[in-house]
C-alpha cells in the first residue's frame, strides 16, 4: 500500500504569470491599437523613428505572442502540471528564474525593437543576444517541467502534458534553426541562410510558431481547463490521442503555404498546400473534442461566462483551422496573399482562440488561487460580448479590404491595361475598413479593461493561497506481476514521448529544408547577379532597421497583373546574396523588387523626407531622420567579413577597401541629388544616400542579361 504524502502546490508562481499575462495583454494590444489607428491617421507615427509602423509592428507581434500568450501558457502550465501529476514543481528557484528571466527578455524586446535592432524574421525579430537569453530561459523551463514530470506521483500522463512536452521540444528546435546567425555587432547579425533558403527556414519556423506556441500549448490548456470549468471529462480520450500525433506530424510541413506563387520551388509549395489541407482533420479533432465535451450541458454554457469564453475560443480555433487550409490552396492564395485577409485570419486565431481562452482561464483560475469568488459574473458576461463582437468588427472589414484590394490590383480594362495603375488608389479605398477594424480592436481591448477591474476586485476580496496544501499517495514502483511490462512502459513515457515527438517533428522540416540546402538545382543561378556593394549593403540594413518589409514586399508573383504593374516576376536566383530575405508578407505599399531605376535619386530623397510630396494622400510616415543622420560606416568591414565567411563572393581582402568604394558611390549619388537642386551640408555622409543606393539596385541585375545580349 502506497504511503500518503503531504505537500503543497505552488500558486505564487501561477499568480506571477497571471499578472504578467494581463499586463502584457494590455501593452501588446495597445501597441496593436496604435498600429491600427496609424493606418487611418498617419500622423500617429509622431514623426519619430521609434514609433513608425515598421518598427512597432514587431513590437506588437512579439508582445502579444510571447508576452501575452507566452505568460498565459506558463500560467496555465504551472497550474495544471502540478495538479495533473500530483506534485509540486521540481524547483521553486527555477520557477522564479523562469518568470523573471522571461519578463527581462520582454523588456529587452520592448527596448530593442523600437530602436530598430531587428533580424526582420517575423516573430523571431529579436537580435542574437536576446536569442541566446531566450534559449537559456527556455531550457530552465524545460528542466523545471521535466523535473516535475520525472518526480510525479501520478504515473499516467494526461493528454495535456503530451501537448506541453511536444511544445517544449519543438519550440527548442524552431528557435535554434531560425536563429542561426553570425553576429556582426552587438545589435546586428546576418542569418546563415540566404534568399530562398532563408525564406523557407523562416516560414517553416513562422508557421510552426503558430502551431507549437499558439496552438499546442493552448490545446493542452483546453484539455485541462475546459473539463474543469464544465466539470465533465473530455468527450473522447481516444480522439485526443489520435489528433495529437496527427497534429504534430502534419503541422510542421505547412510552412511553405506562406510562400505560394513566390520563387520557392514548386514541389515545396505543393507539399505546403497538401499538408495544410490534411491538417484540417487533426485540428478539427481538437475542436470537436472540446465542443462535444459540453454535449448536453449547453444550458450551463448560457449561464457561465467562463464556458462562453471557452466555446468561442474553440469555435474560433475551428474557424481559423478551416480558413487557413483554404488559404493554402493556390487559387485562393492568389486572392489573399499580401492583403488584409491574412491579417483577418491571424486575428480570428489570436483574438478568438488565444485571447478568449486566456480570459476564460483567468476568470476560472484567479478566484481559486485567491480562495474567493469572482467579483462580478455580470461584468464577465459583458466582457464576453465585447470580446466576441470585437473579433467580428475586426475580421469582417479585413476580409472586405483584402478582397477589394486584390481585385483592384488584378483588374484589367477591355483594352488590356491596369484599371488601377496607381497603387495608392487601392489603399485609399480600404481606409474606411481600417477604421472599422480599429474600432473592433478598441471593443476587444475595452473588454480586457473590464477583466482587469473584475480580477482586481476579486483579488482584493480574497487572499492568495501561495502554497495550497494537499496530499497524494507516493508513486509505487510496480513489481513484476501480470500487467508488469505495460505499466513500466507508461512510467518511461515522458522520455519516450519527448523522443517520439522530436522525431516526428523533425521529419517534415528535414524533408522540406534539406533538398533546398543540398540540391543546387533548386535555386537556378543567374550569371549577372552579383553581391551588393558596401554602400548598398548599408542601405539594405537601414531598410531592415526601419521595418520597411512590414509594408513593402519584394516578391513579384508570376501573374500578368503583377508583371504589368511591377515588371518581370521574381526569380529565385536573384536572391542568393540576400541576407536576410526581404520578400515580405503584406502590401500596404507597393512591391519594391524592381524599383531600381524607376525613379530618379531625388524622387527617393523627397519621398523619404515627406512621402506626401511625392504621393499625395499616402499613409506612409515620413523618415526625415535619414536625411540628417550620418551613415555609420564603422561596421562595414565586419559586415563584409561575415558575408565572405557565409559564402558571398567578395574578393579576398575586399573589406580593406570597402569603405573607399562606399564613399565613391556615395559621391555619385550626392552629385545626382545636387543636379536636381537638392542642397544639404554633408550630403554624401547621410544615411539617405545608402538607402537610395540600395533601392536603385533592387531588381536591376537581371536587366543586365538583356543588355549583355545586345
Amino acid at each position: 500500500m502506497a504511503q500518503i504524502e503531504q505537500f503543497s502546490y505552488d500558486n505564487a508562481i501561477v499568480k506571477k504569470f497571471a499578472y504578467a499575462t494581463v499586463v502584457f495583454g494590455v501593452i501588446g494590444m495597445l501597441v496593436g491599437l496604435l498600429l491600427a489607428f496609424q493606418l487611418v491617421f498617419p500622423s500617429l507615427s509622431f514623426e519619430l523613428p521609434y514609433t513608425t509602423f515598421g518598427r512597432i509592428r514587431p513590437l506588437h507581434t512579439n508582445a502579444v505572442i510571447f508576452a501575452f500568450v507566452g505568460n498565459g501558457i506558463f500560467m496555465g502550465v504551472y497550474y495544471s502540471l502540478q495538479r495533473l501529476l500530483k506534485t509540486r514543481m521540481f524547483s521553486d528557484l527555477l520557477s522564479n528564474i523562469h518568470f523573471w528571466g522571461w519578463q527581462t527578455i520582454i523588456l529587452a524586446a520592448a527596448i530593442s525593437l523600437p530602436m530598430g535592432f531587428t533580424s526582420s524574421h517575423e516573430y523571431a525579430e529579436l537580435e542574437w543576444p536576446i536569442d541566446i537569453a531566450i534559449a537559456l530561459i527556455w531550457i530552465v523551463f524545460g528542466i523545471n517541467m521535466f523535473g516535475t514530470i520525472l518526480k510525479r506521483r501520478e504515473n499516467h500522463l494526461y493528454v495535456a502534458i503530451w501537448f506541453y512536452i511536444a511544445t517544449w521540444v519543438t519550440v527548442t528546435v524552431l528557435h535554434i534553426f531560425n536563429n542561426l546567425e553570425i553576429p556582426v555587432t552587438f545589435t546586428k547579425s546576418y542569418p546563415v541562410f540566404a534568399g530562398v533558403q532563408d525564406a523557407l527556414v523562416q516560414w517553416w519556423y513562422g508557421h510552426n510558431a503558430v502551431a507549437f506556441f499558439l496552438t499546442t500549448p493552448y490545446l493542452g490548456l483546453m484539455y485541462y481547463f475546459l473539463p474543469k470549468a464544465a466539470n465533465r471529462p473530455v468527450y473522447s480520450y481516444r480522439l485526443s490521442i489520435v489528433h495529437f500525433w496527427a497534429l504534430i506530424f502534419i503541422y510542421i510541413w505547412a510552412g511553405p503555404h506562406h510562400l505560394l506563387y513566390t520563387a520557392l520551388p514548386d514541389w515545396a509549395q505543393s507539399l505546403g498546400t497538401v499538408f495544410s489541407l490534411m491538417l484540417i482533420a487533426p485540428s478539427w479533432g481538437g475542436m470537436l473534442n472540446g465542443l462535444l465535451t459540453l454535449r448536453g450541458a449547453w444550458d450551463r454554457v448560457r449561464n457561465d461566462p467562463i464556458l462562453k469564453f471557452m466555446v468561442v475560443a474553440v469555435t474560433a480555433y475551428g474557424m481559423s483551422t478551416f480558413e487557413g487550409p483554404m488559404m493554402a490552396i493556390r487559387w485562393v492564395n492568389a486572392i489573399t496573399h499580401y492583403t488584409d485577409w491574412t491579417i483577418g485570419h491571424v486575428h480570428i486565431g489570436a483574438l478568438g482562440w488565444n485571447g478568449m481562452l486566456t480570459f476564460g482561464v483567468l476568470y476560472w483560475l484567479v478566484p481559486r488561487i485567491f480562495n474567493t469568488k469572482l467579483h462580478s459574473v455580470k461584468l464577465a458576461n459583458v466582457h464576453f460580448w465585447l470580446g466576441t463582437l470585437g473579433i467580428i468588427f475586426y475580421a469582417i472589414p479585413m476580409y472586405w479590404a483584402g478582397v477589394t484590394q486584390q481585385l483592384m490590383w488584378k483588374q484589367f480594362s477591355p483594352d488590356g491595361f491596369l484599371v488601377y495603375p496607381n497603387f495608392l488608389e487601392t489603399v485609399t479605398q480600404i481606409i474606411p475598413m481600417y477604421a472599422i477594424r480599429a474600432f473592433g480592436g478598441l471593443m476587444y481591448f475595452s473588454g480586457l479593461i473590464l477583466l482587469i477591474y473584475n480580477i482586481v476586485k476579486t483579488i482584493k476580496s480574497g487572499e492568495l493561497v501561495a502554497n495550497e496544501a494537499t496530499e497524494a499517495p507516493a508513486r509505487t514502483n510496480f513489481v513484476a506481476q501480470g500487467k508488469q511490462h505495460w505499466h513500466r512502459w507508461i512510467e518511461k513515457r515522458p522520455i519516450q514521448m519527448l523522443i517520439a515527438s522530436l522525431i516526428l517533428i523533425l521529419i517534415g522540416g528535414m524533408a522540406e529544408i534539406f533538398p533546398m540546402l543540398l540540391i543546387d538545382d533548386n535555386v537556378p543561378k543567374i550569371s549577372t547577379v552579383t553581391p551588393y556593394t558596401p554602400l548598398e549593403l548599408q542601405g539594405r540594413d537601414i531598410y531592415i532597421r526601419e521595418g520597411c518589409v512590414g509594408c513593402h514586399s519584394q516578391m513579384i508573383r508570376p501573374f500578368r497583373s503583377e508583371t504589368e504593374r511591377y515588371g518581370e516576376y521574381s526569380k529565385s536566383g536573384e536572391f542568393i546574396y540576400d541576407r536576410p530575405f526581404l520578400w515580405g508578407s503584406k502590401r500596404t505599399g507597393p512591391d519594391l523588387h524592381r524599383i531600381g531605376g524607376k525613379y530618379p535619386d531625388s524622387w527617393h530623397y523627397n519621398h523619404m523626407l515627406d512621402p506626401e510630396s511625392m504621393s499625395p494622400g499616402t499613409i506612409m510616415p515620413p523618415f526625415s531622420w535619414l536625411l540628417t543622420d550620418d551613415l555609420d560606416t564603422s561596421a562595414t568591414v565586419a559586415k563584409i567579413k561575415v558575408l565572405q565567411k557565409l559564402g558571398t563572393p567578395y574578393p579576398e581582402g575586399y573589406e580593406q577597401i570597402a569603405n573607399e568604394d562606399l564613399r565613391l558611390q556615395a559621391k555619385i549619388i550626392a552629385d545626382n541629388l545636387r543636379k536636381d537642386g537638392i542642397e544639404q551640408e554633408g550630403l554624401e555622409r547621410k544615411e539617405i544616400i545608402a538607402l537610395i543606393a540600395y533601392l536603385q539596385r533592387l531588381g536591376t541585375d537581371i536587366k543586365k542579361l538583356s543588355e549583355e545580349g545586345k
Binding site: E154, Y158, V234, I250, L271, V274, L277, I329, A511
Partner: protein
Amino acid sequence: MFKYILQSAGDIDLLGLILLIAFFVFFIVISLFVLTKDKKYLNKMSNLPFEDDKDFIGH
C-alpha cells in the same frame, strides 16, 4: 471540384506520394492502437484532471 483543388496543388511528385501514404499508414496504426485500448484505462485518463478535487463526486 475536388479534382481542381488537387490539380492546383501542383507537382507533388514521388516524395509527396510516399509521404502521403506513410502518413496514412501511421494514422491507421495509431487508430487501431487507440481502438484496442481498454475502456477502464480511457475512463481513468479522462478523469485525471478531477482527481485533486476535494469535493469531486465522480462520473
